[in-house]
């Protein structure tokens, strides 16, 4: 059945498979033609618990994946679910990473930002891009998607960990400086903690390279109505004008890398 344009009720889908990525992260696989583009998100309803925005980690038109990090009460409940259990999905929602042909990209992922960036890399190489994939994590046990990324042809993986247990010791942003010094990169895409993305934007700008990033703000509806994810000081909504936004736009926001808001609209400084 076609979904009418204005119907934002949920598609109820059984979880086809759950892949344990590490102690804190699971990937949920759904057999459903979502029709998403890399960078987009879905709203996931865990019945009786809550509903949260989740970025899409892969979509081949037959199935899609969502990689979830256990960060709060809702995701904790999600981790109790088993294959066959049902959740509600609405989406795909928001803006996405678009590609032109045959250029050289640097993707910078922090923490669980590696999952949606994997989807970006997967689509980018199909379009003929060469990809430098930079991942940062606290330690090697928290590295996400490294094996899957290594398996992509045309993608070079660069790893940084805070404790040096994998790749180079230090922040992923230092790796980015090195890559931009040594190679001709046409564009930088990034997904991760906001402060990291801000530094990525600043570094890219220093090298004269445009950047786009996956913004994350507290969302309720995901469909442009509740106003919870409105940015200061433009008032634009992350769920409609984002999540993928250009550094040129984002860098002018007084809240970028400074604060975010909770479910009541109250400011919390990073």
């Amino acid at each position: 059945m076609n979904i009418p344009k204005f119907d934002s009720r949920f598609q109820i889908l059984p979880i086809k498979k759950i892949i344990k990525e590490n102690e804190y992260a699971n990937t949920y696989v759904f057999e459903y033609a979502l029709g998403s583009k890399p960078g987009q998100f879905v709203m996931m309803w865990i019945p009786g618990v809550d509903e949260k925005p989740m970025s899409v980690a892969f979509d081949d038109g037959k199935e899609f994946w969502v990689t979830v990090c256990k960060v709060g009460p809702a995701t904790k409940e999600l981790f109790e679910l088993k294959a066959g259990d049902k959740v509600g999905i609405r989406g795909p929602l928001g803006t996405y990473y678009s590609f032109k042909k045959g250029r050289h990209l640097a993707l910078v992922a922090g923490g669980y930002g590696a999952a949606p960036m994997y989807y970006v890399a997967h689509e980018a190489v199909k379009k003929g891009y060469k990809v430098e994939f930079l991942i940062g994590a606290r330690n090697k046990d928290l590295l996400l998607y490294a094996q899957k990324i290594v398996g992509l042809e045309g993608v070079n993986l660069h790893v940084a960990t805070n404790d040096g247990s994998a790749g180079v010791e230090g922040f992923v942003t230092r790796l980015l400086e090195k890559v931009l010094q040594e190679q001709k990169i046409d564009e930088v895409f990034t997904c991760g903690p906001e402060i990291m993305m801000k530094i990525v934007g600043e570094i890219a700008e220093k090298f004269g390279v445009p950047a786009r990033m996956s913004m994350e703000k507290h969302m309720k509806c995901g469909i442009g109505v509740c106003g919870q994810c409105a940015l200061d000081d433009t008032g634009d909504l992350v769920c409609v004008k984002g999540p993928v936004m250009s550094w040129d736009y984002v860098k002018k926001l007084p809240e970028m890398g400074v604060y975010h808001r909770d479910a009541q609209g109250k400011k919390h400084y990073f």
């Binding site: 934002s8 009720r9 106003g227 409105a230």
Partner: protein, 305 residues
């Protein structure tokens, strides 16, 4: 071009469209963005004395015909309004701001109106659709003409600013509630609040909203809104913000013909985006042009006989 400006309780609006309470408008940035997109004025989300958590998700969704929500009036309280929302909105004010306030006890209504009055809103709108915690059954104030009148009375004592009461359609006779409020000094009304509603997911066999039931808005409720505005206008003759299911300029004209002086627009953003404000204003202008209307005063209450 027709004269689209409207005076409401002595406050001048450049056009009759105002953002309805509860849609967007979490921050001053959001309110200003709506004015930039063409709205004649804005209404804040319902402001409480203290922080209010609200409901868990799912809190809202829509269909072609209706929208259902149960956000639970989440808000950071008067502190945020005082320190952030009002100063930031007012420092370069481009359009009037209506402060919507809410409480769950009579005394708290008086208190919040007294506090919000000091922050410099143009109009104070009182949301009485919330359950009365002092009532045995938790009946909303808006569902009882005596309770609605009591709230109006205590609010009136705390402000000289235009005071309007937001009424619920979930009553047998909305005009009777309006009359009771008018007697206690209400300057006008906002009508209507959402209708009671519930949607069940048939696969999961459970209500979709985390709160189970919520408020219906959107196209489906427009006839109810038009009828309620008509009845209130006929009974009181006071200024009304007509709201409920307005998506187009012609919808706005229709509710104005029922007696609305301003038109509250909220759920429209689901269907047309924030850009819809400017489009509606343009459509109102085009309608006036086509129908030889030079001034909106000609159509306010034009259908009420």
């Amino acid at each position: 071009m027709a004269n689209l400006s409207v005076e409401f309780c002595g406050v001048k609006f450049k056009n009759p469209t105002v953002l309805a309470s509860g849609i967007l408008g979490v921050t001053a940035s959001s309110l200003k963005n709506i004015v930039r997109h063409g709205a004649g004025g804005v209404t804040t989300k319902s402001i409480w004395l203290e922080e209010n958590i609200g409901h868990k998700n799912p809190t809202m969704f829509g269909t072609e015909h209706y929208f259902l929500n149960a956000v639970g009036l989440s808000d950071a309280g008067i502190l945020k309004a005082r320190e952030e929302t009002f100063p930031e909105y007012l420092k370069d004010k481009q359009a009037p701001i209506i402060a919507n306030v809410v409480a769950s006890k009579i005394d708290d209504f008086a208190e919040i109106v007294g506090e919000i009055d000091k922050l410099g809103p143009d109009i104070i709108e009182v949301n009485i659709g919330c359950p009365n915690v002092e009532d045995f059954h938790g009946k909303p104030f808006a569902c009882d003409r005596n309770d609605a009148a009591k709230v109006t009375k205590v609010c009136r004592e705390r402000t000289k600013k235009p005071l309007i009461i937001k009424l619920t359609p979930n009553v047998p006779n909305i005009a009777s509630v309006a009359e009771a409020c008018a007697k206690e000094g209400a300057d006008g009304f906002c009508a209507i609040n959402t209708l009671y509603g519930m949607t069940i997911d048939t696969t999961l066999r459970m209500p979709i909203l985390a709160n189970k039931s919520g408020g219906v808005s959107g196209p489906a409720i427009k006839p109810t809104a038009v009828k309620c505005v008509y009845d209130i206008y006929k009974a009181t003759g006071l200024s009304i913000i007509g709201t409920g299911g307005v998506l187009t300029g012609e919808d706005a004209i229709e509710i104005m013909m029922a007696g609305a002086r301003l038109v509250g627009i909220g759920t429209m953003v689901y269907y047309r985006g924030v850009e819809g404000f400017g489009l509606i204003v343009k459509e109102i202008d085009e309608w006036c042009e086509k129908n030889g209307v030079k001034n909106l005063e000609e159509i306010i209450g034009a259908a009420v006989k």
